[in-house]
Structures are given as C-alpha cells and as structure tokens.
Amino acid sequence: MYRYDEFDHAFVKARVAEFRDQVERRLSGALTEEQFKPLRLMNGVYLQLHAYMLRIAIPYGTLAPRQMRMLAHIARTYDKGYGHFTTRQNLQFHWPALKDVPEILEKLASVEMHSIQTSGNCIRNVTADHFAGAAADEVADPRPYAEILRQWSSLHPEFSYLPRKFKIAVTGAESDRAAVQVHDIGLHLKKSPEGRLGFAVYVGGGLGRTPMIAKKIRDFLPEEDLLSYTTAILRVYNLHGRRDNKFKARIKILVHETGTEELAQQVEREYLALRESELKLPEDDIQAIREYFAPPLLPVRSEGEALLASATATDARFATWVRRNLHTHKHPDYACVTISLKGIGEVPGDISADQMEAVADLAERYGQGEIRVSHEQNLVLPHVARADLKAVYEGLVEIGLATANAGLVTDIIACPGLDYCALANARSIPVAQQIAIRFADQSRQEEIGDLKLKISGCINACGHHHVGHIGILGVEKKGAELYQVTLGGSGDENTTLGEIIGRGFGADEIVDAVETIVETYLGLRQDKSETFLAAYRRLGSAPFKEALYGSEAKAA
C-alpha cells in the first residue's frame, strides 16, 4: 500500500502543529468559536450531542495493521474504547475532548493518518471498491488513481473553498461496489477496445435531500488525463455552482439546472485547454504510484480446497460463514473475507479496541498485512489463503466478529442517527438492531437472500437509504420518531433511487413493516434466484403497498 514520502510527512506534521496552536488559542480565548469552527472542521472535529466527534480519513478504505492498532490505542486512551466505521470508509470517534485532539492527530500522523478534509467544502476522502486489487472481476486496481486524486486534492488551493463538499469514488470492476453513480464524480475504470486503461466519467450524483443519479459525461477518459479532466469538472463547478443556497450548492444541482449536455460541453472546453498542461500524468508517475499497490506475492496454497471441503463438512457454522462472507479472489487459492461488523443486535460499524487489535493480528498473520473498510460499514481481509480460512474464522469467533450475514437482510447500513448526531431527527441504530434481531434466524435470512437495507436518521442520508433495496428514513413528526420507507433503490452499476411507498411508520411499527415487505417478496418471487430487487423491479410497488396499507392503498 501507499507509504508517505517526505512531503506527505512534512505536510501532515506541519498541519498537526498548526492545529495544536489553533486549539490552544481557542482554549485561551484568543479565537472565538466563530473563528475556530471552520478551522476545527477542516481537521475533522465536529460538535455532536454528547461531545466532540473526530472523523479520521481512511483513503480508499485501505488500512495497515499498525494503523488499526493505533486506532485501538486512541480509542482506549482518549475515547470510550471503541470506534465507528462510516459509510464513507472513514472512522469516527464519538467522545474525544478538544484539548486531546492535537495529541490524537500527532499519534495518527505517526502512522501516516490524518483528519484533513474530512469536513468542509472541499474534496473529501476519495473512496474505492473495498475488494480493490483482489477481486477476480477487476479490470485494474482503482487505488493508484484514488491515491493520485488524494495527492492532487490535498489542500488544493483552487478547490479548498468550493460551493459545497465534493466526493469522488473510483471502481475498477464491472460490478460497481463503490456506488460511483451517487457521488459528485464517479470514475469507472475500464479498458478500451485497444487495451488502454481509462475511465467512464459520471458527474452529479448524490443522495441527501435531493437524491440524483450521476450522468455519464464521458465514456472513455484516458488514464493520463485523469487530473486534467477532474480539474475541468471542478473548475466548471467552482465557477457556476450555487453559493446562494446551501441546499442547492452541490454539483448535482448544477448538472440538473444546466443540463447534462451543456455541462459536458463546458467541461470538455476546459479539458481541451488543460489537456496538454502539466496536469497530464506521465506514464512513469502513474507507474510509480501503481507500484505502491503492487499485488502481494501470493504463494501457491493448493491444499486449500481439500482443507476447506473437510472443514465445512464437519462445522456447519463455518460452512455458513464460507457461503456468505467470501468474495472470489483473482488467485484461485485465495479469497476476500468480509468481517461483518453487523453482529445481531450490535451497532452497525462499531468495533471495540480489542477487536481492532485482533483484526490487525489476523491481517498480519493470514491476510498479507492488509485491511479494508467497506462503505457498507464492514471490514475486509482482501487476501486470505483458502487454506487459512478456518483459522481466520476461529480468530473471528473468539472476538465475536464471525457473523455470517454479508449481503443479507441483517447486514444493515445505519448512520449514527439521533443517538449521537446533532443533525439527526430520529434514531437509526436501534431500528437496525431491532430488524437484525427480528431476522436473526440464519436459515430465514439465507432463504430471503441478498437484500440491502439502509437506514438514515435524517434527510442528509448518511445511511444511503435512497439506494437501499429497502430504505428507511427517520424523521421527527409531532415530537415522535417516524420512519418513511423507500423500496427498489440500488447503488450498483444499475443505480436506481428507491420510491417512497406510502405514509411512514412509528418506531413501534417499522420492524413489522419491514417484515411485511419481506414476506410479500417471498410470497411473490418467481423462485429463489429472483432477488428482492429483481422481484421489486418486475412487480412494482403495488403489491407491497397493498400488503402494508391494505384498503387504504386501494383508496389512494
């Protein structure tokens, strides 16, 4: 994985020193909150309901064991012994004291991590496929490009005060696991018919109060033009994006109001002017970054199949986990392992310091020293020999992280919601917990099959509810929590936005409503191979409305 060079080290160290001084001046009263707030936000420090919150960037979701151990140390020393992985592949601590943040940042810097650009109207952490560099279906590893974008966008003087925040995602496989079509810029790595690498470029996707699917404005952008084209998009946005209304300031609104064709022309004009500039990436530079992400040397471990066959035959729980939590690796003797942070009744995305350390140990011993964070709030060990799967599984059982539910109805994305977040209107986590408990039975979950359920506690949609097969949005109505349900959303290569199914449900009704939806699907699917999403696309909303609202639905 990428290692900081001297410039990275100097830059992050200088930033820590700068923020230490700013915190000291705030605590002494030399800076007012009005002056300090934008400075703390630029360093990932928010103020939430119970305390400050520190958001730490995990570029393209890639973590080394030493970094995970440092997160465990920080959780134990400065927080309450746990951290929370987010839907942006980041990690949040919910309880740090402001006075401790400079020291925390110093410790993060010692393992090449920081919190810069995890807030504010700038280019945020670049996200990528969590199976990058390992998945069998990959055209190429998207992380070198994500790293190039990270270096280019860090403290970019022209793009540090954009109309609004800006999120870029990169995926390298035909199956889009990075949800690129709901990002400000989505890059889909592909090969031209001549075998050249480049990107399909999507612009103007996003969730929040005005969800929109990104528009493809270029079918093939050669890789060497990554920065000139991205700069062109950002320039058009920076110039024309609305600054008069926060709710209309994202690029998705600009694309919508300008029209895709006109916006694409504006971008192309800028691109033409920039194409032969210093932004053109020399092949040597791309190669130099690519080498940081060179695949690990994976020895032949052909004994894996026989070991696996015997272990799954004698251990039914292990067999279940193997069935659900593995993804096909490029190397036939290896697998990508999903470590579910969705234990039944647990908080989605939460992990204790002890668990962090144990995962770091497993990654070191069996996983080529690599850990990934998925935007679905799970962890991944991308390179595990199939011969070692039983040992990894047993290690995960010991720390309570062997839940065999990847991709199932209990593998729920949920934002922190009103339990922590100052913006939230309703709780998300308790709803996720109750749904998971209701569907806890493994055979029932597997009978239901692949189903993505996503919950947000407010309209800002950090829980990605718009692209959940079943989406739940918490709102506050007459002082009580109310949950609106959307169906048919999807955040993959065939992105769709969920449709609101009808009136919302109270906190004591929402789990039953989800069960009704699932039972309706089970009753109407053609056979087990027809997933929830496929069935919804075939059937439409009518049978689900009927099941949920009965005669009320007919009358409407």
Binding site: H50, L98, Y420, A426, I429
Partner: protein, 102 residues
C-alpha cells in the same frame, strides 16, 4: 418551562445552566425558567459564558417536570441528557445508574 443547554468548550460535554451561573452535567440540577424574565436571565448567563469561553452552542430547550423530574419535550434533548439510548453504560445515564430518560 425552559432550561439553557450548551456544550462545554474543553471537552464538548453537554451541560445546562444551573443555579448561580454554575454549569451542571446533570439536567436534574439545571435552573428552570418559568417565565420570560427567567428565560432572558438564563440567556444572559449563557452569553456571558460563551464570551468567557466556557461553553458553546447555547440553546433554550422546552421541558416538563414529571413526578418531580425534569423531562425535555424533544427526544433529541432527552438523549442528550441521558446518553446514547443504545449504550446505557455510556454517557450521563451510566453515572446516575438511573433509568434512561428516553
């Protein structure tokens, strides 16, 4: 009836304006404003505390007193007073070992 809520600058902990201008961590010890004059006085205390860099984000919140105990009207403020509803062992509710306000 209203209370004045805020977060403490140093560590962000939720606090409320108590008697004699002291900021308290237990909402039960907060000073209750029962009329407009009392509300204005609490706000004045809040503004002075903001100016002295003790607290930030001051806000008057609506409450009831139920069986002698303070109960904020909004769930948001009840969670703030108790701690995350999913973690009874964390936040103020843990120290009081009392039932959550939620």
């Amino acid at each position: 009836m209203k209370l004045l809520a805020a977060n403490r600058l140093l560590d962000g902990v939720a606090v409320w304006a108590g008697p004699d201008g002291v900021w308290v961590e237990d909402i039960g010890q907060a000073e209750i404003a029962r009329d407009g004059d009392a509300e204005a006085r609490l706000e004045q205390i809040g503004r002075e505390a903001v100016a002295r860099n003790l607290v930030l984000d001051i806000e008057l919140i609506d409450i009831d007193v139920v069986d002698g105990a303070v109960r904020p009207l909004r769930l948001r403020e009840r969670i703030r007073a108790a701690g995350p509803s999913i973690h009874p062992e964390l936040g103020k509710q843990a120290a009081k070992q009392a039932a959550s306000l939620v």
